[in-house]
């Protein structure tokens, strides 16, 4: 697995000069602390993931879904991680690394607020001052998460440029970093950004597949036939795939947000989806060369997904590479099917998934006949954060398997 920052032509370090020394410093820290366990960094990281984070998360057989699809379906329960999503694996790793590096302050961007809340929790836990940048529009869509960050003592800075979503928040965080780089570490939220972020975030998240691989063998006696994970930036995805990449018999499916349509209008610059792996093409965004949703001129498009955590125009360079080399199969699930998947998992397994995660279950429903044997699905997060959106979106369309929600529609939660 690459650690030199390039995945074929993807990856790299396309950042302002002012950040390059920090990125070099971080690369060195990554190599020493993460790869070589200097000062016992990785030991402390694993201990804290266990005690603070709640690892290992279970691999649960989904009895009712298995029966429905005549498959052996196992759920990797990252929704049980502290904070309610896989995001803490990375946030805790990076905040701890910043501490080992002697940094005094943490900054991070957040879209849906999941990475922001994970970072705020980790920063509180490790006593690091923390500022989170969040698009103003996202702030309004995800108020509970904003509140959680503040409760954990983080400062939340609204980003008003552009559409006020994740893309703008990342840009703004990079600007802060360019100004404060000597004392500050930027905790990026997915396997995106300049090297060493994509490999470092992957390494922190790969605990998912490390555990899932062992757990599947323990429970079934062999490797799974397929692993399915949703893909926004791709951190839960690569986390779920990393330790299976060398197992050639294991099919890997990255489920992207198909939004309302896969048709990308390059002329008007609007992508009604967030399927960068499936419909994007090569370009440079936020520090890395990767697959992007961009218009013909190279301007980044406004992406769309019912789940704000998948609503990003780029994707991790490593995933782009694994797709090009046919190791990972990119697939898409649209908003409607994701909502159905959300309701299905809630009703049949008693697990309310994040809307991001729900895409993976939408895929299962639509393509289970193409799968066989043992299937591991990563439950990247829980859906508590999405209740408001689910009420609105379920109300706005006809979701056949939704419960009656008339008592909720209209009023706030």
């Amino acid at each position: 697995m690459s650690t030199d920052g390039k995945f074929g032509d993807y990856g790299g370090q396309y950042v302002p000069e002012a950040l390059m020394p920090a990125i070099e410093e971080l690369t060195e820290a990554y190599e020493q602390y993460v790869l070589e366990n200097k000062d016992g960094f990785m030991d402390e990281f694993r201990d804290r993931l266990t005690d603070f984070g709640g690892r290992p998360t279970p691999l649960q057989r989904a009895d009712r879904l298995s029966e429905r699809y005549d498959l052996d379906i196992y759920l990797k329960r990252e929704d049980l991680l502290h904070g309610g999503a896989h995001k803490l694996n990375n946030a805790l790793g990076q905040v701890l690394l910043a501490k080992y590096m002697g940094k005094e302050r943490i900054i991070a961007e957040t879209g849906a607020g999941q990475h922001g809340t994970a970072t705020a929790m980790a920063a509180a836990h490790l006593d690091m001052p923390c500022t989170i940048y969040m698009g103003e529009r996202d702030i309004n869509r995800q108020r509970p998460n904003v509140f959680r960050m503040k409760l954990n003592g983080s400062e939340v800075k609204p980003v008003t440029t552009g559409r006020g979503t994740l893309k703008e928040a990342i840009s703004e965080t990079m600007r802060d970093w360019a100004t404060t780089v000597e004392t500050t570490h930027y905790v990026i939220g997915s396997i995106v950004g300049p090297h060493p972020f994509p490999v470092m975030v992957r390494d922190f998240q790969s605990v998912i597949s490390k555990e899932a691989r062992e757990q599947t063998i323990e429970k079934t006696g062999s490797l799974p036939d397929s692993v399915i994970a949703c893909a926004g930036g791709g951190s839960n995805t690569m986390g779920s795939f990393a330790k299976f990449v060398d197992d050639e018999s294991v099919s890997l499916y990255a489920v992207e947000a198909g939004g309302s349509s896969l048709r990308v209008d390059e002329d008007t610059g609007v992508a009604p989806n967030s399927a960068s792996l499936s419909t994007g093409n090569e370009g440079v965004l936020h520090g890395a060369r990767t697959k992007l949703l961009q218009d013909t001129a190279g301007q980044i498009m406004e992406s769309h997904s019912v789940s704000s955590g998948l609503d990003y125009a780029g994707v991790g360079p490593e995933l782009a590479y694994l797709v090009d080399t046919d190791r990972v199969t990119p697939v898409t699930v649209d908003d409607d099917a994701a909502l159905e998947g959300f309701h299905r998992l809630s009703q049949t397994e008693g697990i309310i998934p994040a809307l991001e995660t729900a895409h993976a279950f939408g895929y299962l429903e639509e393509h289970h006949e193409e799968l066989s044997g043992t299937v591991v699905v990563n439950v990247s997060g829980r859906g508590d954060k999405d209740l408001e959106t689910v009420i609105e979106e379920t109300d706005a369309r006809d979701v056949p398997n939704a419960p009656d929600m008339s008592m909720f529609s209209g009023g706030g939660m």
Binding site: E17, T161, M174, R175, N281, E282, Q294, G298, Q299
Partner: protein, 295 residues
């Protein structure tokens, strides 16, 4: 400017940019092309030339300008809303009626993508070729560090264009060396950490950067935060070969938009500030000369 120099530019650079530094220090203003519209923007850039610009940096707006502060970000948003695109940018350059060398400042994705549109597949060649034929003399690409620059450097070499790099206060040692092996035209000395934006103080970081660069035989233009004549004077007196001014000029454009001012009024104020900056730089030249003479 003598002594044991390491030559930074063995490559055959575009001679326009070098020439601009020959008559004393250069005044290098920046504006985002298309801000707030194609036509107005043209009038503003021409005003910069009238005001004494030696080189003009023309910003081709990119949707994710990660190196810019709020002032230039907003200019870019206005320009994009006004419909600015790479194609229109080149048309703008071709139609521009000024007599100074033009540098294109943009982000790498637009350069990289242009090949795809042109049917070449992605890569910088098509963009550089087009830029050269439209009359661009060089590039500044804030998100392209020396480590990723070889393809663009090669294309520039092929078309005789310069590639300018930004030296940050934190750039030193191997990294500085790597950059200086690839730079041509001039060095963009970033006056302090952070993003673009007008500020009134000149940092110690500027002096330190100029010191680190003293041994390299290439004009050093200082930018980030210069807003007035006295600042320009001090910076040049301290050893800069040029001053780069962006946000202070963009502020004038922004005010024009906000107060709905006629194009000429805004252009006049851009010209006036340009004269002040140019004059400041010239006073800086004189101070430096006096210094040299005194030794």
């Amino acid at each position: 400017m003598a002594g044991q120099r390491r030559s930074a530019v063995d490559r055959s650079a575009n001679s326009d940019l070098a020439a601009a530094f020959e008559d004393g220090s250069a005044y290098i203003p920046y504006l985002a092309v298309g801000d707030p519209s194609y036509e107005r923007s043209k009038a503003y850039v021409e005003a910069l030339a009238r005001g004494g610009a030696d080189i003009i940096e023309l910003g081709l707006p990119f949707s994710e300008p990660i190196a810019e502060g709020p002032t230039i970000q907003n200019a870019i948003v206005r320009a994009l809303k006004g419909g600015m695109s790479p194609e229109l940018f080149f048309q703008f350059v071709e139609e521009l009626d000024v007599d100074v060398p033009l540098v294109c400042m943009t982000y790498y994705n637009l350069i990289y993508q242009y090949g795809r549109t042109a049917g070449d597949g992605p890569g910088p060649e098509a963009f550089v070729e087009k830029a050269a034929s439209a009359g661009i003399s060089g590039f500044v690409v804030p998100d392209l560090p020396a480590e990723e620059a070889d393809p663009l450097r090669a294309a520039c070499d092929e078309h005789g264009l310069d590639l300018i790099f930004i030296v940050a206060p934190t750039t030193e040692g191997d990294r500085l060396e790597r950059m200086m092996q690839r730079v041509s035209g001039y060095v963009y000395v970033q006056a302090r950490l952070g993003t673009t934006g007008a500020r009134s103080d000149v940092s110690d970081q500027t002096t330190a950067s100029l010191d680190r660069l003293a041994d390299y035989d290439l004009p050093k233009a200082v930018g980030f935060g210069i807003s007035g004549g006295e600042q320009a004077e001090r910076i040049v007196a301290n050893g800069a070969d040029g001053i780069i001014v962006g946000s202070a000029l963009v502020d004038i454009v922004a005010n024009g938009v906000e107060n709905d001012e006629p194009t000429e009024a805004v252009a006049d104020r851009l010209e006036t500030l340009s004269r002040e900056l140019k004059a400041g730089a010239q006073r800086g030249d004189e101070a430096r000369q006096a210094n040299v003479d005194a030794k």
